[in-house]
Symmetry: D2
Amino acid sequence: MARILRMGMVGGGPGAFIGEVHRKAARMDGQIEIVAGVFSTDPEKSRATGRALGLAPDRVYTSYEQMAEQEAKLPADQRIDFVAVTTPNSSHFPIAKTFLEAGFHVMCEKPMTLTVAEAEELEKVVRNSGKVFGLMHNYTGYPMVKLARDLIRSGELGPIRKVVAIYPQGWLAQPIESESKQAAWRTDPRLAGAGCLGDIASHAENLAEYITGLKISELSADLTTFVPGRRLDDDVNCLLRFENGARGVLHASQISVGEENGLAIWVYGEKGGLEWHQEDPNHLRVTSLDGPEKQYFRGNPYVAAKSPAAARGTRTPSGHPEAFIEAFANTYVNFADTIRALEEGRAPSELENDFPKASDGVRGMKFIAAVVRNAAGQDKWTRL
Amino acid sequence: MARILRMGMVGGGPGAFIGEVHRKAARMDGQIEIVAGVFSTDPEKSRATGRALGLAPDRVYTSYEQMAEQEAKLPADQRIDFVAVTTPNSSHFPIAKTFLEAGFHVMCEKPMTLTVAEAEELEKVVRNSGKVFGLMHNYTGYPMVKLARDLIRSGELGPIRKVVAIYPQGWLAQPIESESKQAAWRTDPRLAGAGCLGDIASHAENLAEYITGLKISELSADLTTFVPGRRLDDDVNCLLRFENGARGVLHASQISVGEENGLAIWVYGEKGGLEWHQEDPNHLRVTSLDGPEKQYFRGNPYVAAKSPAAARGTRTPSGHPEAFIEAFANTYVNFADTIRALEEGRAPSELENDFPKASDGVRGMKFIAAVVRNAAGQDKWTRL
Amino acid sequence: MARILRMGMVGGGPGAFIGEVHRKAARMDGQIEIVAGVFSTDPEKSRATGRALGLAPDRVYTSYEQMAEQEAKLPADQRIDFVAVTTPNSSHFPIAKTFLEAGFHVMCEKPMTLTVAEAEELEKVVRNSGKVFGLMHNYTGYPMVKLARDLIRSGELGPIRKVVAIYPQGWLAQPIESESKQAAWRTDPRLAGAGCLGDIASHAENLAEYITGLKISELSADLTTFVPGRRLDDDVNCLLRFENGARGVLHASQISVGEENGLAIWVYGEKGGLEWHQEDPNHLRVTSLDGPEKQYFRGNPYVAAKSPAAARGTRTPSGHPEAFIEAFANTYVNFADTIRALEEGRAPSELENDFPKASDGVRGMKFIAAVVRNAAGQDKWTRL
Amino acid sequence: MARILRMGMVGGGPGAFIGEVHRKAARMDGQIEIVAGVFSTDPEKSRATGRALGLAPDRVYTSYEQMAEQEAKLPADQRIDFVAVTTPNSSHFPIAKTFLEAGFHVMCEKPMTLTVAEAEELEKVVRNSGKVFGLMHNYTGYPMVKLARDLIRSGELGPIRKVVAIYPQGWLAQPIESESKQAAWRTDPRLAGAGCLGDIASHAENLAEYITGLKISELSADLTTFVPGRRLDDDVNCLLRFENGARGVLHASQISVGEENGLAIWVYGEKGGLEWHQEDPNHLRVTSLDGPEKQYFRGNPYVAAKSPAAARGTRTPSGHPEAFIEAFANTYVNFADTIRALEEGRAPSELENDFPKASDGVRGMKFIAAVVRNAAGQDKWTRL
């Protein structure tokens, strides 16, 4: 029987979106329990969240430094196994570093840091700590994304020629920064670092590299702020070139009125193509040179045959849809099983080890930095 | 802060499908914890499941009767608040009855019983017990189903004229009874009572009555067993008449090759229509006499404005899809809040009280009985 | 080089819908020219239409009897080869009979006649005339419908078990009879004979029998008139049984608000299934027991390989959509090539001979009669 | 009554694709008849096509120069009114110029010429000729494209911020130049000038400018040839900037395996957005800041109310799909009515005058030239 892991959380107080998603995802499979946290910089709000979660009052802390210190002093069978970092971007780096150095595994929201330098330093901290670090690029947790990766890995599409990754949203088409907590921090340069670029374009970048197994080598970008008064970009358009010669397009937006969370990807190889939409996550369209188009549906034996990773990330039979929270939960399952493997003194299997890591965070920060630099200059191409 | 309820379970052992869905759904929101159970008729399998769930060994029982008796003896702050019954159909009735009479609330899988007589008796038991009884017609837990109901309730579609409810599946197109545990009990007359009719056609019936607020008054049916050697029906086709004069069609199938879990409904009123598909649950199509068709997407303010129940059943922002397990969880949330209301000595709100009950179970059994009777005879119409 | 056929028309005057579709379809491929007609019972309207069509004034007649008589007197290289009958239902029989007996081929709108007796008589007239008779069940002209038929014919789906054919429309949800010419005659018992049943349910029946190659043996039906004051049915629901033991559902409606021309069909065999929608006519979904679902798209080599008939009915490459008028035109092409074969003294090929005939008209009238009889009585099943 | 126009054609011999589409489109409405042509550089093939079309032998010419000269000598009521130029790109300019200068109206395939200089010269020739010149950017003939334009024109979407126009195809993913006539000339620099860029990217450019009413001011581009041995580009990716500050992405491809004719566009304004797909041409998705998404379907009164141009381009009721050939035909109808207006000595109405012209051809050639120049250089942005 798998040991139930103890989770702490930094962030996720009243009005938070992503912290509660982390909690639901962590709870879903009964293999992780939430036992400690600092949920807000306001101690009263933090305590209120702790109470709502049924935590012991002495496990709700007033600062993440205090939490790291106090938890480290608890007996090994009581203290948290890992912490989930779900605060605004600017504090990811210090919090993650603190907990890693205090001997805890870390699951961190993306983007990993504010700068490439921080990202590279954190990658070193992770390496030196010997701890497990997960980066919540949750979209790679979807089973059909894993199938897509595995179809490409197996050569079914042939060498990849073209990638189109898009992430349109419309919720920031108007200046709602003053009304919405979610909008406020995401458009604050100090807290978020980058706007649309860091919040969602980086997901598209991560998805493209994850599915294709290719690295973006250079890009050309146009970065725009459409909403008057906004301090960060709300629209991103990029031409991509990949290390193998493949070409691509990536665009993301927060001003595409009517789009909700439209992350989608198309990949074309010499022999076939595929298409996946986050809002319809249980399907994968696959094309070939000479037959009718195929629609793969999650949960079928023919999916499992091509992708054990997709099968592993499946909880319900085909036709019983799974969605966003389950994709998060899949990332947690693999992260947790890798922690358990470490405890058990064995190497995690490839399936267990399948979750985004600090190296993905470094790639993400390099992508963000390259877009910012290219968009500000006159050079056509900027290398990552 | 809401009290975390203690849940017991009967059923849901190794290889079970729906029991584990109940557990994931119950856990998701952190308001229910699983503390006891009898998971299999095989005590060793039951204990193994209990261990995997992290239960105290003395809360894993060898029979439901023992469980009801022992739990009732525990102190009020330790014993289960309710039991989830997730066994094959034939045992729903005795188990539910036993726990209700022992003073526990019950969440029961559908179909509620094997016969109308049992259903009516169980309805009485519920009434006499003063306990909360929930019937897991999970599809009514989807937010867009609640929006559909509320649009009709508000008169937006006008008086209803026509209803088409379908539930095609293909997984039993071949005689897999001998290989699949799920197939075996569902095609065993002794355990399941009815085949496709009880397993899925009854969901379509429940959905149609829930969304429209109308009762089916009479029906004409064709019940077929296509797979040689199968002992129960695997295909159901019905003409429906509703008490208000509306007409309808209901069909369900387990031999529709390639269909997965295709529950869907179309409702047409004098002023508008709507369409919803379980496999694409975050959308609702709505039509009117004179404008472009509208697509409602879960999680938007315009949904909340029309349906507080849909908003209440929403965990993630629009575009971040929710699915099957969340719909289950919504049924649990309302069931649990109604239990809490009872504890607090107040009437549950209409929103809290929105989950299927014993009366729905009686309707379902009457529907099943009417289909069986009509299909076997020469009369064109059979009243429910 | 194919001889360009000369077409006459009865019906299709100002305000007509289907007559103009016949003309566009007939013209499209440059193999048929319109040279004569009586387009309206009002001679002035008829002449106006003739002028707009560029007809010689002496080829615009005041009655169909006159037209048949006068055209027959013209030299063989001037007179019409065939007549298209596009009047309201009640006059199909006398007009078709008149022209057949005058030695002309006939393309007739459906339903073929008002009664089974007329239909059977017309079938005899056709046989005795030695002329070519086409019945415009245009939906069988779609290439993907022909592919569907050919996949079933070849056994790819295995023996057929279940058929669902639907034809929802919403345009008559309100009493627009007084405002709309199209609505007026279609709801007039004297002109139309049957309402929704004859206008569109009969298309669904024809499509089901064409695609499956099976005959409906018996049915149970519910026929309703929802709109107050309407004199014919506007909603049809049927249970179907086919001669091979397959079961089915057929429903059609003119009061399904928001539905436009939603003819669609699902067929399930022992080994596979298929689904086709008239409003998305270039696609065919095909399922099997064990692989991912396939989407066939018109115009591809893999379609041609399975269905020469689909390839023959294709004018543009894949991705360049074809639609309603082209399906009509396909029916005309086969009808015209069959006429040419007759002229050339050879049997038409199977591909040429692939268009609906008087025998389909008889089936349609039997279907209509069976629905009316069953709906009015207490018997559960009525044989066709 | 409208005078039936006489059409000549250059191109469209055996094996041609687009020439036959022009003919079907021109014939469909009975307002244009084909009377003359030179269909191939091979006189025998040309004569064969003429025979198949039922032309008088003396109206089938051996060269376009001869045709222009001879037709000009015919009496005014016999000679062609206009010529359709459907040859490979390289001959559009000389042919169009010749016929314009001989006093004929011209309908020309796109791209208009091989160079910007030719395009600008042809624009002058058109102006000086006083004749009507149409450029067959057929996709702007779709009714829902006209609705899209009219919604934007009316301000319903607010000022435009972002445009995404894509045109993926996969038919040239392999080197089929040697087998396919269509592929051969399209990949021949001498005949086609540009590859994917001229063949389809220019359609995306035209569609974007037509729908938004905005001009592209500058662009950054990546032009690739993936298939070994191919002499022209088969993949195009561009960042776009529009004169009003809007940003955009345009990509097109002939190596996107499985894509057929995937022209599509998304436009986002301050108040709303829209989406249209050529392969599903009867629908237009429209979004707004605060309501459910709307789906406009061709043929409805609510479409006509917003776009008389869409209504004018509609032949069948809603739900009876129209497609590619009808869009061509709509371009012909407006072109022909503008010719008739000229004959009648009146200015064509705005609805009649709604077809692509020489100015669109100049824009297209500037777009092509800018992409080629930018892709070959180091500058980030190139002005059109």
